[in-house]
């Protein structure tokens, strides 16, 4: 799978861009603040409909303009045209000029994995980020997962609304609890079956890039121990006092322990960075294994943060992704240019919102 064409209009600092890309390894060179990361953000946006910077759509409009457009042509077994437009009053997403009604019909058209500085939050930040990491993988590999997650979230929110009302309508609460438990159990089953595949990929990736003697353990920790309904019932009084749902997969954790201590609290900055990259490497490898074709890799300046031996660990994945019909986009400044990268690079110069070969 590769992105054959990218078209931007008023996206970030790009007024207009039309660029053709072949499969292979593309390096985006340029000084800071020229728009290199914006290009990666646009490609990631086409794949996931979200910014990897964690910002909303309004933040991506070029200064003073009403809206942005990001379009692309994805070449896989067939070729598909994606068009994404956003303005304050209008949002449009089409695939081959057909409007998309259900997200499940769209997701998977383009698959990307981004490596960026924000990944550090996966380790440092709250459990929400790590749940999102799991959910992203499940959404990209199981078509039924996204509607399941959306329905579960709706059931939790409905239940929270019922818990806040006085007097509590017991029969209605019971009906929504029943739905929430059913959907929640399905989510936990999916997450539980993902881990035996994903966990070893994370530890293996970590073993390749971390110095010897660092031992990583990855564990899925559902908040529900055995019986969701029964454990929820035991929280009855506290739930009513607080007016919200206190148990369920929306509170699960993906625990990361380095040398038997929680990484968020005890790892150094360097160790955290290595861990974050390991998670992303595992994500890319998992998608490649599940779909039989690697995702498009978007690497934002991460290589510059790694020393030469750690960069070596990246190479097998880079090779896998650039062989055949795969594709990699990587941003670099001249100073942190990784010399060991092969000869077959396609170099692009990014200067003030323009892209040149």
């Amino acid at each position: 799978m590769h992105l054959g064409h990218l078209r931007l209009r008023d996206f970030r600092n790009f007024r207009r861009l039309d660029a053709d890309f072949g499969p292979g390894f593309h390096v985006l060179l340029g000084r800071n603040a020229q728009g290199k990361t914006n290009l990666l953000e646009a490609v990631h946006l086409l794949a996931t409909l979200r910014s990897f910077r964690g910002v909303g759509s309004a933040a991506m409009v070029r200064h003073g303009q009403p809206g942005w457009f990001v379009g692309g042509r994805v070449v896989a077994t067939a070729s598909h045209a994606i068009k994404l437009y956003w303005s304050k009053n209008e949002r449009r997403l089409t695939l081959d000029d057909q409007p998309i009604r259900k997200l499940t019909d769209y997701l998977g058209t383009l698959r990307t994995v981004a490596f960026c500085t924000e990944d550090l939050q996966l380790i440092k930040g709250a459990g929400r980020g790590r749940r999102r990491f799991l959910d992203f993988l499940l959404t990209q590999t199981l078509p039924t997962y996204l509607p399941l997650l959306q329905n579960y979230t709706r059931a939790v929110r409905s239940r929270n609304a019922l818990l806040k009302k006085r007097p509590i309508d017991e029969a209605t609460l019971e009906s929504f609890t029943h739905e929430m438990v059913k959907l929640g159990n399905e989510i936990m089953t999916r997450r539980r079956t993902l881990l035996p595949e994903l966990g070893p990929r994370i530890t293996a990736a970590h073993a390749r890039i971390a110095p010897d003697g660092e031992e990583l353990s990855v564990e899925y920790q559902p908040r529900v121990k055995e019986d969701f309904a029964a454990e929820l019932h035991r929280m009855r009084d506290r739930e009513r006092a607080l007016g919200s749902t206190l148990l369920g997969p929306h509170r699960d954790e993906l625990s990361l322990q380095l040398n038997h201590k929680p990484a968020a609290d005890f790892a150094s900055e360097g160790q955290k960075r290595t861990l974050a990259i390991s998670l992303k490497l595992a994500q890319a490898e998992h998608l490649a294994a599940t779909h039989g074709a690697p995702p498009i890799l978007l690497i934002d300046d991460v290589m510059g943060e790694l020393d030469a031996p750690r960069r070596q660990a990246f190479l097998p994945l880079l090779n896998q992704c650039t062989q055949g019909r795969g594709q990699v986009f990587m941003t670099c400044t001249e100073q942190n240019w990784p010399e060991e990268l092969g000869e077959e690079l396609q170099k692009w110069e990014v200067t003030d919102g323009e892209l040149k070969r």
């Binding site: 499940t104 078509p143 039924t144 709706r154 409905s158 309508d169 029969a171 209605t172 009906s175």
Partner: protein, 201 residues
């Protein structure tokens, strides 16, 4: 909308009114309005009369909630229909859909929605008490509600509340669309159909 500025005021008002209708966007509304104001006035009179007459004569059946001209409606009074089975649906339009299938020949009951805490719809806002008032005489209640979270929760709620009164409560099966190959079914439908599989006799 800037394009309305060029329209005479009464036409703009008509565009506005038509635009309120379901499935009519600003462009269609404008096309319809411009067509109407250029039509023969007798024709437009006929349309206006048809609209008013239909609205005047159609009401909701006081017993079941279906659309009807007479009280109670034909579904509630027709002796050829099975008076021991009732099909519970969300809206009056659902009655028409089930009826089109031709597979059901019993009574109906329209709830008027589904329980939705996020939209402030409580059980008291639905026609559940009216359904309980009709229970004697029914020996099966078929729940034909939507299969989203709220539809399913409403089904759970009704099964609990009505089950206590000694009547059989059933719900529609989730399954494959009839007459099509598996390749046309989405994954969720397919997995639900697998869960609800049946032994062949």
């Amino acid at each position: 909308m800037p394009m309305m500025n060029s329209l005479p005021e009464p036409v703009a008002a008509l565009v506005g009114a038509l635009g309120q209708l379901p499935g009519i966007g600003p462009r269609s509304a404008e096309r319809l309005a411009l067509h109407l104001v250029q039509s023969e006035s007798g024709q437009v009179q006929q349309l206006a009369d048809a609209l008013l007459t239909a609205r005047d004569r159609i009401q909701l059946c006081e017993t079941c909630g279906a659309l009807t001209e007479h009280q109670p409606c034909a579904f509630c009074t027709d002796d050829r229909r099975d008076a021991a089975t009732v099909c519970v649906v969300e809206t009056a339009v659902d009655v028409i859909n089930v009826e089109k299938s031709g597979a059901f020949k019993g009574r109906y009951h329209v709830l008027g929605g589904k329980i939705s805490p996020l939209n402030g719809v409580d059980p008291e806002d639905l026609r559940i008490a009216e359904l309980e008032g009709r229970l004697t005489g029914f020996n099966e209640i078929i729940l034909a509600l939507g299969t989203d979270v709220e539809g399913d929760a409403t089904s759970n709620y009704l099964a609990q509340r009505l089950g206590k009164q000694g009547v059989t409560v059933t719900r529609l099966a989730h399954g494959l669309p009839a007459g099509s190959g598996l390749e046309y079914a989405d994954d969720l439908t397919l997995s639900r159909a697998l869960e609800g599989r049946r032994e062949l006799q």
